[in-house]
C-alpha cells in the first residue's frame, strides 16, 4: 500500500502542475507602452507634436537638401560625390530615386493625422493650447503635402488615415489633380492660421515653431507656386493622366491664380510687419560689435548682406529651420590662415561655378553683359588689384577682371583667388592688407587638391559667420544658426514677382524690389537701368521686369536653397541647367594658366527632370498610381 501511496502522490504532483499554470502564458504586465499612452497626458502628447515636426527636411544640409548640390549653384570635387552631386549630373533614376522623400513625407502625414485623431483625448491641457497644437499640425499637413508636390507634382492627398487592415483596393490610391492638391494645402493653412500665435512668448523654447507670420508667408509661397508656369497651364504635362483619364495638370493658364498670390503676399507682408519683422541691416544692430574700428561702408554693407543669412534669428527671418543648424561652414571655408597650417577643418569645397560668379551684378547694379561701363568681353583678362579695390581684392594681387567692379553681394557672398575675407578674428578694415585673403592657385593654401579645395576657383562666403575663428590644432569656433527657410527679402521678391505677373510693372513692384536692392547697397532699379544699362527701358516692360525680378531673386537668395526650386517653378531649368559647369583651372600654379576656363561638366536637363520619378516599387505596388512623364 505504501508503494501505491507514493505513486499517487507522484501523479498528483504532476496534475497539480498542469492545473496551476492556466495563466502561465499571460505574461504581459499592465502599463505596456502602446499608442494610447502617447495621448494620456500633455507631456506625452507634446512628444507626438514634436514627432510631427521631426520630418521637416534638413534644409541646407549637403546630404538632405537637393537644393544645395543638386542643381548648378554649388559644385564639388569628385571625391565628395554623393547622391545629390549625381542628381546634378543627371543621374536621377526611378529604381532608387536620389533624395526620394515619398516614404518619409507619407509617414509624416500619417503621424500628423494620428495626432489630430487623438489630441482631443488629452485630459490635462488648456483648450487654447490644444487649438494651437492642432493648428501647427494642420500647417504641417499642408507643409508636407506641399513638399511632396514640389518634388512629385500632383500627388495622392491624405485627408485622413486609412485603417491598418485596409483592403488592397482602399490602399491603392490615385493622384489628385494639381489644383485640388493646392486647394487642400491652402485650406489647411487657412484652418490653421486663426489658432496660431503671432509671435512666440517663449522664444528660447519655441522659436522655429509655426507662427501666423510663418503660415501667411508659407501660404504666399504656395500660391505663387500654384500660379507659376510649372503648375499653371503647363502643357508639357498634358500627357499626365490618371488611369480613369483625369487630367492632372489643368492645361489652361489662369491669371487669377496670380491675383490670389498677390493678395496672399500682401497679407503676409502686413502680418510680418505687425510681428515686428524688418529687413536686416548690420548698422541697425543695437550696440553693433566692432564699433571701435569705425568700420567703413563697404564692410558694413557686406556684413548686412552676410549676416542676413548667418546671424541667427535676425529681424529679417520669418522662419528658420531649427531641425537643421548650419553644418556647412567648415566645408565652405577655404584655408587662409598661414599660422594654422595644421588645421584642416576649413575645406573650401563648396564651389559656385563660373556662371554663378557671372550672375551677380556689376557695382552699378545691372548684369555684367548690360553694364555700359563694364568690359564684358575682357572679363577673363588678368588685372591687378589697386588701392581702390583693397577691401575686395588683396592689394597687388592679380586675378581675373571678372572679379573687379562687382556689386557688394558678389564680395559678400563669394570668395575667390585673391579675394579679401573680412572677419575670422581680423575685423579692422583700416589696413586692408592685414585682412585674410584667399590664395587658390596650385600649391597655395586654399589650392585644389584631390580631397579638398574648390573645383571652380570660387568659394561661398555667405554661409560663414564673420566671427567664426580658426584656431590651433583642429578647432574651428563657429557661430551656429538655424537654416533660414523664409526671409522677408524672399517674401518681398515673391510679392514683386506676383504683382508684375498679374498687373505688370508699377511703383509697388519697384518699391519692394528696391527695398532688397537698397540693403544690398545698390541704387534703385529705375536709376540703375536708366543710367548704366545698354537696355535702359527693360524694367518698364512686364517681360523685362520679370527678367530683372528673377535675376534679383537668384542673386539675393543665392546659396540659400532657392535657385534649385525657382528655376523649376519658372520652367527656366531647361535652359539654365543645359549649360556647362565651368571654373578656373585649379591645377595651375601661375595666374596666366590658372585663369583659363575649364569645363568641368556638361549638364543636361529634360522635361522629365522637372519632377522626381516616383520610386518604381511604389508604382508596382499601387496599380492606380501613374508614373511621372518620361520616367
Amino acid at each position: 500500500m505504501k508503494k501505491y501511496l507514493k505513486s499517487i502522490i507522484c501523479l498528483s504532483v504532476v496534475l497539480l502542475m498542469v492545473t496551476s499554470c492556466k495563466k502561465y502564458l499571460d505574461i504581459l504586465p499592465d502599463n505596456m507602452a502602446t499608442l494610447d499612452n502617447a495621448f494620456a497626458m500633455r507631456s506625452e502628447a507634446k512628444k507626438y507634436l514634436f514627432t510631427c515636426y521631426s520630418y521637416i527636411p534638413k534644409s541646407g544640409s549637403i546630404d538632405d537638401d537637393p537644393a544645395m548640390q543638386g542643381g548648378d549653384e554649388i559644385w564639388r570635387i569628385a571625391y565628395r560625390r554623393n547622391g545629390f552631386t549625381d542628381l546634378a549630373k543627371g543621374l536621377q533614376n526611378k529604381v532608387t530615386p536620389i533624395g526620394d522623400k515619398w516614404n518619409t513625407f507619407y509617414k509624416a502625414l500619417r503621424d500628423c493625422h494620428i495626432f489630430l485623431e487623438n489630441i482631443e483625448r488629452v485630459p490635462d491641457m488648456l483648450d487654447t493650447e490644444k487649438k494651437q497644437w492642432i493648428a501647427e499640425v494642420k500647417f504641417l499637413i499642408a507643409y508636407y503635402h506641399f513638399q511632396l508636390m514640389k518634388m512629385y507634382g500632383p500627388i495622392p492627398l491624405i485627408k485622413e488615415n486609412l485603417p491598418i487592415g485596409a483592403t488592397p483596393d482602399q490602399v491603392q490610391v490615385s493622384r489628385d489633380p494639381v489644383d485640388v492638391c493646392f486647394e487642400y494645402v491652402v485650406q489647411n493653412i487657412d484652418e490653421a492660421i486663426p489658432d496660431l500665435p503671432l509671435v512666440h512668448y517663449n522664444p528660447v523654447e519655441e522659436n522655429g515653431r509655426i507662427t501666423q507670420a510663418v503660415a501667411y508667408a508659407f501660404k504666399a509661397q504656395v500660391l505663387v507656386y500654384a500660379a507659376s508656369p510649372l503648375f499653371n497651364g503647363n502643357t508639357d504635362q498634358a500627357g499626365l493622366k490618371n488611369l480613369d483619364g483625369t487630367q492632372l495638370f489643368d492645361q489652361t493658364f489662369n491669371k487669377a491664380k496670380w491675383e490670389l498670390a498677390v493678395a496672399a503676399c500682401k497679407k503676409a507682408i502686413a502680418v510680418c510687419d505687425s510681428a515686428g519683422l524688418k529687413l536686416y541691416d548690420y548698422r541697425d544692430k543695437n550696440g553693433a560689435n566692432y564699433n571701435q574700428y569705425h568700420l567703413g561702408d563697404t564692410i558694413l554693407t557686406q556684413l548686412s548682406i552676410r549676416n542676413s543669412m548667418s546671424e541667427k534669428w535676425n529681424s529679417g527671418i520669418i522662419w528658420a529651420n531649427t531641425q537643421s543648424f548650419s553644418g556647412v561652414q567648415g566645408i565652405a571655408l577655404p584655408m587662409m590662415d598661414a599660422s594654422r597650417p595644421e588645421n584642416h577643418v576649413p575645406r573650401g569645397e563648396l564651389s559656385p561655378p563660373l556662371k554663378i560668379a557671372e550672375m551677380f551684378y556689376t557695382q552699378h547694379g545691372v548684369p555684367v553683359d548690360e553694364d555700359k561701363t563694364w568690359d564684358y568681353n575682357g572679363r577673363n583678362n588678368l588685372r591687378t588689384a589697386e588701392d581702390d579695390d583693397a577691401l575686395y581684392i588683396h592689394r597687388g594681387y592679380t586675378t581675373a577682371s571678372l572679379n573687379f567692379d562687382r556689386e557688394p553681394r558678389f564680395y559678400a557672398d563669394l570668395g575667390f583667388d585673391g579675394s579679401i575675407w573680412h572677419g575670422q578674428g581680423r575685423y579692422d578694415d583700416s589696413n586692408p592688407s592685414d585682412l585674410f585673403y584667399v590664395q587658390a592657385k596650385f600649391g597655395q593654401m586654399s589650392a585644389l587638391q584631390f580631397d579638398r579645395g574648390s573645383i571652380t576657383g570660387y568659394f561661398i562666403k555667405k554661409f560663414i559667420h564673420f566671427e567664426n575663428v580658426v584656431e590651433a590644432g583642429s578647432s574651428y569656433a563657429i557661430h551656429n544658426y538655424p537654416w533660414p527657410v523664409m526671409q522677408l527679402s524672399d517674401l518681398y521678391l515673391l510679392y514683386a514677382e506676383a504683382l508684375n505677373e498679374s498687373e505688370g510693372p508699377g511703383l509697388e513692384v519697384y518699391h519692394y524690389l528696391n527695398l532688397v536692392r537698397q540693403r544690398a547697397g545698390l541704387s534703385s532699379v529705375e536709376s540703375a537701368w536708366e543710367q548704366y544699362s545698354i537696355n535702359p527701358d527693360k524694367y518698364k516692360t512686364q517681360n523685362g521686369l520679370r527678367n530683372i525680378i528673377h535675376r534679383e531673386r537668384l542673386i539675393e537668395l543665392a546659396f540659400e536653397g532657392q535657385r534649385f526650386w525657382d528655376l523649376r517653378r519658372w520652367k527656366e531649368a531647361a535652359q539654365t541647367l543645359n549649360a556647362p559647369i565651368q571654373g578656373w583651372d585649379g591645377q595651375q600654379k601661375n595666374a596666366e594658366d590658372y585663369y583659363r576656363i575649364v569645363t568641368i561638366f556638361n549638364q543636361t536637363f529634360g522635361t522629365k527632370d522637372y519632377f522626381w520619378p516616383i520610386i518604381d516599387r511604389e508604382i508596382t505596388a499601387n496599380k492606380n498610381l501613374v508614373q511621372n512623364l518620361g520616367w
Binding site: 507522484c10 499571460d26 502602446t34 512628444k47 514627432t51 529604381v95 532608387t96 507619407y106 490610391v173 516599387r617
Partner: protein
C-alpha cells in the same frame, strides 16, 4: 504588475515543493529497500573472458541465462566474468553494437567468447524524443544518429564543424575559421520558412541550448547524437520541433570500478587559403587611373615622385609600402585539447565525471612593446557530472550538473574584423609606426602612423596595426546547469508502466571587458630627400593616451527553467502485440537581460502536453500516433494554443514468412511512412514578442525635434518623438508545417545497410509582410499569416561493414542529402513580368540582373537600354533588358544562380583496420549553391579597399578594353551600377573536400596491460587537406564571407588512453 508577482510566487512555491518531494523520496527510499539477496545455490560456476574480434577485452558485456534473465552478470573491466548457472542452459552474451552470442553450457567451467561487432545496424537502438531508446528496427519516424567516435575524428574544438556530411538530412557548412566564431551553420532538411528561426532545436540531455553550447561539447562525453527529422519523430516537441531536432545525450556511469579515459590532442592550423592583394605600387597606379578614367579633369592622388620612390624603396617611413597581412598575421597557430573522464559505480549509484580543456590560439601577431596579449586565446573548460542513484529497486534518480566556461582574450574587435580591416586599409599612406627619432626620444608610446581625416579634423584612417595592438578584449561566457530527473518504474502496478519527472534550470552569462589605450597617431610632415630626414606631427595630442582605458558591453545573462513530467507505458502482450504509450507535460520559461526593449525583456514561455501511442503486431506491422498540444505566449488568447497531430505506419517485410527464402541476400527490408502537422511559434523576428499588442517607442531620438536657440545663448529645446515599431494584430497565429516522409530500409548480405528517405513538407500560415504602398505611411510593416512554402528532398545513407577472418576490417559510409524549397504563396504586387514572382522558386533564391558583358565604349552605352543605377560608361557592366522596355529597372531582376544555402550535401568515407593499425578518411561536399563576391566590399579604393590581386590582373582599362574582364572599369568609389546583385560576381559554391584523414596505432595488449590500460591509441589526423572547387579567391566554403577570418587546415596529433 501584481498579477505577475503572484504568479511568480506560485511558480516558485510549486518548484520548491517538487524539489522537496524528490528529496524526501530519495531519503525515504534508502530506508525502505534492503537489497534482496539471492541465495539459491546453483550447480555450475562458469568463468571466462569476453573479447572483441581485435582481441581487446570487453567490459560491461551482459551475460544471462536464456529465458531466465534473473540469472545474469556483466563482465568486469578486464572483460572477465563469473556466474553460477544451472546445468544445461544457454548463456547469452550481449552488448550494444555487438552481435549477441549464445553458448550451450555443458559442464564446461571456462568459456571464452569473442563478440563480433553488429553487422546489421538495424539492431542498434537510437535515442529518440525525450531520451527514449528505441530499437532501430522498430522505428517508424525518421531519426539518424552519428557516432561520437566519428565526431571525434575531426580535430576541432568546435563540435559543429564536424557535422557536415556526417548524417543524411543534415545540411551544414562553415563560413569562418575564427576561434570562438567558427560555428557551422546547420539545417535539418533545408529551410522551409521565411521566419527568423530556421535552425533546429538543440537538446543536450533534454536541455534546450544554443549552437554554441553544442559546439563546446566534447565528443568523448557523448553517448548518443541523434537527429530527428520528420513529423512523428519531432511531434512530441510540439512548437519547438518544426525545424528538426538535434538530440545529444551524455554518457552515464556503468557498474564497475573506476574507469578512466583520457585524450590529449595538439594541433597546428593554418588558413586553407589567404586572399591575395596587389602590391603597393600597383595600388597607387591603379588609384590614379581610377580617378582619371572617371574624371579626366580629376586630380591624381599619388604623385609620380611618390610612386617612383616607393618602387625604389627610398625610405620606408617617407614612402611606406605596407604588407598589412604580413604585419598582422602569423602563418600558423596551435591548439591544445585535453579531455578526461572517470566513470564507474556500484549497486546504489553510478557516476560519470568528465572535464575537458581546449585552448585555441588565433593568427594575430603581438607587439613586444605591449605587455598584453592581443592575439585570440580562447580557453574553454567543461565539467560534467552525471550521477544515477537507485533509490529503490524501481526508482532511479539522475542528477546532472554541468558547467561550460569560455575565457577569451583577443583583439578589441574580432579576428574577422582584423582580416576585414586589412583588406580595407591603405598600404601607402603611412607606416604602421614611426621609429623613435631624436625629436621624440623621450616619448613612451608607440608612434603609430596615420593621416588626417578628410573632414580636416582628427585621425582619418584605420591603422590596422594600431587597431590590433592597442588593447585587448576579455570575455567570459559560462553556462551552468543543474538537472534532476526522477524515474519511477511502476511495473508492480502493471507491467511496462513508468513515470519520469525531469526539471532543469540553467544560467548563461556573458560579459566582456575591453582594455585599450587610444593610440597616438603621427603623420609625416616633411621629408627632405637630400638629407633623408623627416619630421612628424602628432594628429591627436589631446585624445591619445599612454595608459589603458576600459569599457564594457552590457552583460548578457539569461536564465531558464524547465519542467517535464512523463508517463510511459511499454508492453508486449502475448508476444505479438507490442504496445507503448507516453504522455508528457512540459513547461518552459526563459528570460534574459540585455534586451533593450521592454517587450523582449519579458520571459519566453511555452506550455504543452504531448503524447505518443504505438502499436506493433508481431514485429511486422507498426502504427504510431503522436501529438503536441502547445501554447505560446506570443499569440492572442484566442490563438494561443495549437494542436499538432501526426501518425506513421511501418511494415517490416523481411519479417514476413514469405520473405524467408530471400533472407540470406536481403537481411532486412522495411517500409515506413509518416505524416504529421507541426507548429512553429518562432515566426517574424525575435523582437516580435507579442503580435497582439503594438510596440511603441515613446522616446525615439530619430523622431526628435528642436526649437529655440535665440539670442546669444546656444541653448535649444528638444524632445524625442514617438515611433510605432509594430502594429497590433490579434489574428497572428501559429505557422504550421505538414510533413510527409516515406522511407525504405534495406539490409543486404548482413554487411550493407541502406536507408533511403523521401520527404516533403508544406508550410502554411507563414508570417509575412504584406505589400502595401508607401503612401499608406506605415512606420512598421503590416503582416499576416499568409505565406506558404513547400520543401522536398531525399536523404540516403549507406553503411558497409566487413570483418575478415584475418583480423582485417573495413567500414564504409556514405550519405547524400537533397533538400529543396519553394515559395507557394507569397504576397507580392501584380507584376507584369511573370519571372518576378517568388512563387515556385527556392526560399533562398537570389534575384539579380543578368550581366551580359562590359560596355565596349560610349557608343555602345548610347545604343543600349538605360541603366538606372547611377553613373556608368565604357567598361561598366551591361545588363540584360529582360522585359525589353528599354530601361534596366527592378523589373529586369530575375532569379539567378542556385540558392545560397546548398541544396545538396554529401559525405563519404571509410575506416579500415588491421591488427593495431587503423586508418580513416572522409570526404565531404556541397552542391547546388551559389554565392556572390561582394562588389561593394571588394571595390578597390572605396573605403580604402586594397586591390585584390585577381582584380589587378584582370580589369577593364582604357588601354586594355577587355569586355570580359573580371573587374569593370576602375573608380575611386563604389560604382553603384556595377555593385548591383548580378551574375557577373556570382560564383558556384559547390566543392568537394577531403575533410578529414586519420591514422591511428593502438599499442599491443601486453604493453597496455603493463600500463594497466585497456586501450592506448596514438593517432595523427588532419582536416581540410585538399579541396576541389573552381573558385580560387578564398576558401570556397566561406561563400560570400571571403574577406573574413579564413577557414583553417589543421594537423593534429593525439593520444587516447583508457585505464581501469
Amino acid at each position: 504588475m501584481k498579477r505577475i508577482r503572484k504568479l511568480k510566487n506560485l511558480w516558485r512555491l510549486s518548484a520548491t515543493f517538487i524539489l522537496f518531494f524528490i528529496y524526501a523520496l530519495a531519503v525515504s527510499a534508502q530506508h525502505i529497500e534492503p537489497s534482496e539477496v539471492q541465495d539459491t545455490k546453483l550447480p555450475i560456476q562458469v568463468t571466462g573472458l569476453v573479447t572483441d574480434n581485435s582481441g581487446s577485452t570487453l567490459p560491461g558485456v551482459t551475460i544471462y541465462v536464456k529465458n531466465n534473465k534473473a540469472i545474469g552478470t556483466r563482465t568486469d573491466e578486464n572483460g572477465r566474468y563469473i556466474l553460477e548457472v544451472p546445468n544445461n542452459v544457454i548463456l547469452v552474451f550481449s552488448m550494444l553494437s555487438f552481435e549477441s552470442q549464445e553458448v550451450q553450457i555443458k559442464e564446461e567451467k571456462v568459456i571464452n567468447v569473442m563478440l563480433r561487432p553488429a553487422a546489421n545496424q538495424l539492431e542498434e537502438t537510437v535515442v529518440t524524443a525525450f531520451a527514449t531508446r528505441q530499437k532501430k528496427s522498430d522505428m517508424v519516424g525518421s531519426v539518424t544518429s552519428i557516432s561520437a567516435e566519428e565526431l571525434a575524428k575531426t580535430p576541432s574544438s568546435n563540435l559543429t564543424t564536424s557535422l557536415a556530411g556526417r548524417a543524411a538530412g543534415l545540411i551544414a557548412f562553415q563560413r569562418s575559421g575564427e576561434p570562438g566564431e567558427d560555428n557551422a551553420n546547420f539545417f535539418i532538411r533545408g529551410v522551409t520558412t521565411f521566419g527568423y528561426k530556421t535552425d533546429p532545436l538543440i537538446l543536450i540531455d533534454g536541455v534546450e541550448l544554443t549552437a554554441t553550447d553544442l559546439a563546446r561539447i566534447r565528443p568523448d562525453d557523448i553517448a548518443s547524437f541523434s537527429i530527428l527529422k520528420d513529423a512523428t519523430a519531432t511531434a512530441v516537441y510540439g512548437a519547438r520541433g518544426a525545424n528538426g531536432v538535434i538530440l545529444v545525450t551524455t554518457k552515464e556511469g556503468a557498474v564497475g570500478s573506476a574507469k578512466l579515459s583520457f585524450r590529449i590532442e595538439n594541433s597546428i592550423s593554418a588558413p586553407t587559403r589567404n586572399v591575395e592583394l596587389a602590391d603597393p605600387v600597383t595600388y597607387m597606379n591603379m588609384y590614379n587611373e581610377a580617378i582619371l578614367t572617371r574624371d579626366p579633369a580629376g586630380v591624381p592622388l599619388y604623385s609620380e615622385d611618390k610612386i617612383a620612390n616607393t618602387e625604389a624603396g627610398t625610405n620606408p617611413i617617407a614612402y611606406p609600402a605596407n604588407d598589412w597581412q604580413k604585419l598582422l598575421f602569423k602563418d600558423y597557430t596551435t591548439t591544445k585539447r585535453i579531455n578526461l573522464n572517470v566513470s564507474g559505480g556500484g549497486g546504489v549509484a553510478r557516476y560519470f565525471v568528465s572535464g575537458s580543456y581546449a585552448k585555441d590560439d588565433g593568427l594575430l601577431n603581438v607587439d613586444h612593446r605591449n605587455n598584453f596579449n592581443n592575439n585570440i586565446d580562447l580557453n574553454s573548460y567543461t565539467l560534467r557530472t552525471n550521477v544515477n542513484i537507485n533509490l529503490t529497486k524501481t526508482t532511479e534518480l539522475n542528477a546532472r550538473l554541468s558547467g561550460n566556461f569560455d575565457d577569451y582574450t583577443g583583439p578589441l574587435s574580432s579576428g574577422a574584423t582584423m582580416y576585414d580591416i586589412v583588406v580595407h586599409s591603405n598600404p601607402v599612406l603611412f607606416p604602421p609606426y614611426f621609429p623613435a627619432d631624436p625629436a621624440h626620444q623621450f616619448v613612451n608610446h608607440i608612434m603609430f602612423g596615420n593621416y588626417v581625416a578628410s573632414t580636416g579634423t582628427g585621425v582619418g584612417y584605420h591603422n590596422p596595426y594600431a587597431d590590433m595592438v592597442r588593447g585587448y578584449k576579455n570575455y567570459s561566457r559560462s553556462l551552468m546547469q543543474a538537472q534532476i530527473e526522477l524515474k519511477q518504474d511502476f511495473s508492480f502496478l502493471t507491467e511496462g508502466l513508468s513515470t519520469r519527472v525531469m526539471g532543469y534550470t540553467y544560467r548563461q552569462s556573458y560579459f566582456d571587458v575591453n582594455r585599450s589605450y587610444t593610440p597616438f597617431y603621427y603623420q609625416l610632415e616633411n621629408y627632405d630627400k637630400h638629407e633623408d630626414a623627416y619630421t612628424i606631427v602628432n594628429l591627436n595630442e589631446d585624445a591619445g593616451t599612454e595608459y589603458l582605458g576600459y569599457s564594457q558591453s552590457r552583460p548578457d545573462v539569461s536564465s531558464s527553467f524547465y519542467l517535464e513530467a512523463m508517463i510511459d507505458y511499454n508492453r508486449t502482450i502475448k508476444e505479438k502485440h507490442g504496445i507503448s504509450g507516453m504522455l508528457i507535460y512540459q513547461m518552459r520559461s526563459n528570460q534574459s537581460s540585455a534586451q533593450g526593449d521592454l517587450q523582449q525583456s519579458l520571459p519566453f514561455r511555452n506550455l504543452g502536453v504531448s503524447g505518443r501511442l504505438t502499436y506493433n503486431y508481431d514485429k511486422r506491422y507498426y502504427a504510431e500516433f503522436a501529438f503536441g498540444y502547445n501554447g505560446s505566449e506570443r499569440f492572442a488568447a484566442n490563438h494561443r494554443y495549437g494542436f499538432f497531430p501526426s501518425y506513421g505506419l511501418a511494415w517490416t517485410i523481411s519479417n514476413e514468412k514469405f520473405f524467408e527464402p530471400l533472407k540470406p541476400v536481403v537481411s532486412n527490408l522495411r517500409l515506413r511512412t509518416t505524416y504529421g502537422i507541426i507548429g512553429n511559434d518562432a515566426i517574424g523576428s525575435p523582437a516580435d514578442r507579442f503580435f497582439y499588442i503594438s510596440n511603441v517607442n515613446m522616446n525615439d531620438g530619430d523622431k526628435s525635434a528642436t526649437f529655440g536657440g535665440t539670442g546669444t545663448t546656444e541653448s535649444t529645446y528638444s524632445l524625442n518623438g514617438v515611433t510605432v515599431s509594430r502594429y497590433a494584430n490579434r489574428d497572428i497565429t501559429w505557422e504550421t508545417s505538414k510533413q510527409k516522409n516515406i522511407a525504405l530500409d534495406i539490409g543486404l548480405f548482413d554487411n550493407l545497410t541502406i536507408t533511403a528517405e523521401f520527404y516533403s513538407q508544406y508550410r502554411d500560415h507563414i508570417l509575412m509582410t504584406r505589400s502595401i504602398p508607401m503612401s499608406m505611411g506605415l512606420s512598421a510593416a503590416s503582416r499576416a499569416n499568409v505565406g506558404e512554402a513547400s520543401g522536398k528532398g531525399t536523404d540516403i545513407s549507406l553503411e558497409y561493414n566487413k570483418y575478415f577472418s584475418n583480423g582485417f576490417w573495413l567500414q564504409g559510409m556514405g550519405n547524400f542529402t537533397y533538400a529543396s524549397s519553394k515559395y507557394r504563396v507569397f504576397e507580392e504586387p501584380h507584376y507584369d513580368e511573370p519571372y518576378r514572382y517568388h512563387v515556385g522558386h527556392s526560399l533562398s533564391q537570389t534575384y539579380g540582373y543578368i550581366a551580359e558583358r562590359l560596355f565596349v565604349d560610349e557608343k555602345d552605352v548610347e545604343n543600349s537600354p538605360l541603366q538606372n543605377f547611377g553613373e556608368y560608361g565604357a567598361g561598366d557592366l551591361k545588363y540584360l533588358d529582360v522585359n525589353r522596355d528599354g530601361q534596366i529597372t527592378e523589373a529586369d531582376r530575375v532569379p539567378i544562380g542556385n540558392p545560397i544555402t546548398p541544396e545538396i550535401t554529401y559525405g563519404f568515407g571509410f575506416s579500415a583496420g588491421y591488427k593495431n593499425f587503423d586508418i580513416s578518411a572522409f570526404f565531404q561536399g556541397l552542391a547546388n549553391e551559389s554565392f556572390w563576391i561582394d562588389p561593394e566590399a571588394t571595390s578597390p579604393f572605396a573605403n580604402n579597399t586594397q586591390v585584390l590581386k585577381v582584380y589587378a590582373d584582370d580589369y577593364w582599362s582604357e588601354d586594355h578594353r577587355n569586355i570580359n574582364a573580371l573587374w569593370p572599369r576602375l573608380s575611386p568609389g563604389v560604382n553603384n551600377n556595377n555593385a548591383q546583385t548580378n551574375t557577373w560576381f556570382m560564383r558556384d559554391g559547390s566543392f568537394l573536400r577531403l575533410k578529414q584523414v586519420e591514422i591511428g596505432y593502438s599499442l599491443p595488449e601486453r604493453i597496455q596491460k603493463k600500463l594497466h590500460a585497456s586501450r592506448i591509441r596514438i593517432y595523427v589526423n588532419a582536416s581540410n587537406l585538399i579541396s576541389f572547387s573552381k573558385f580560387k579567391l578564398w576558401d570556397v566554403e566561406m561563400g560570400g564571407n571571403g574577406l573574413g577570418y579564413p577557414i583553417q587546415r589543421v594537423f593534429n596529433i593525439g593520444l587516447n588512453m583508457d585505464i581501469h
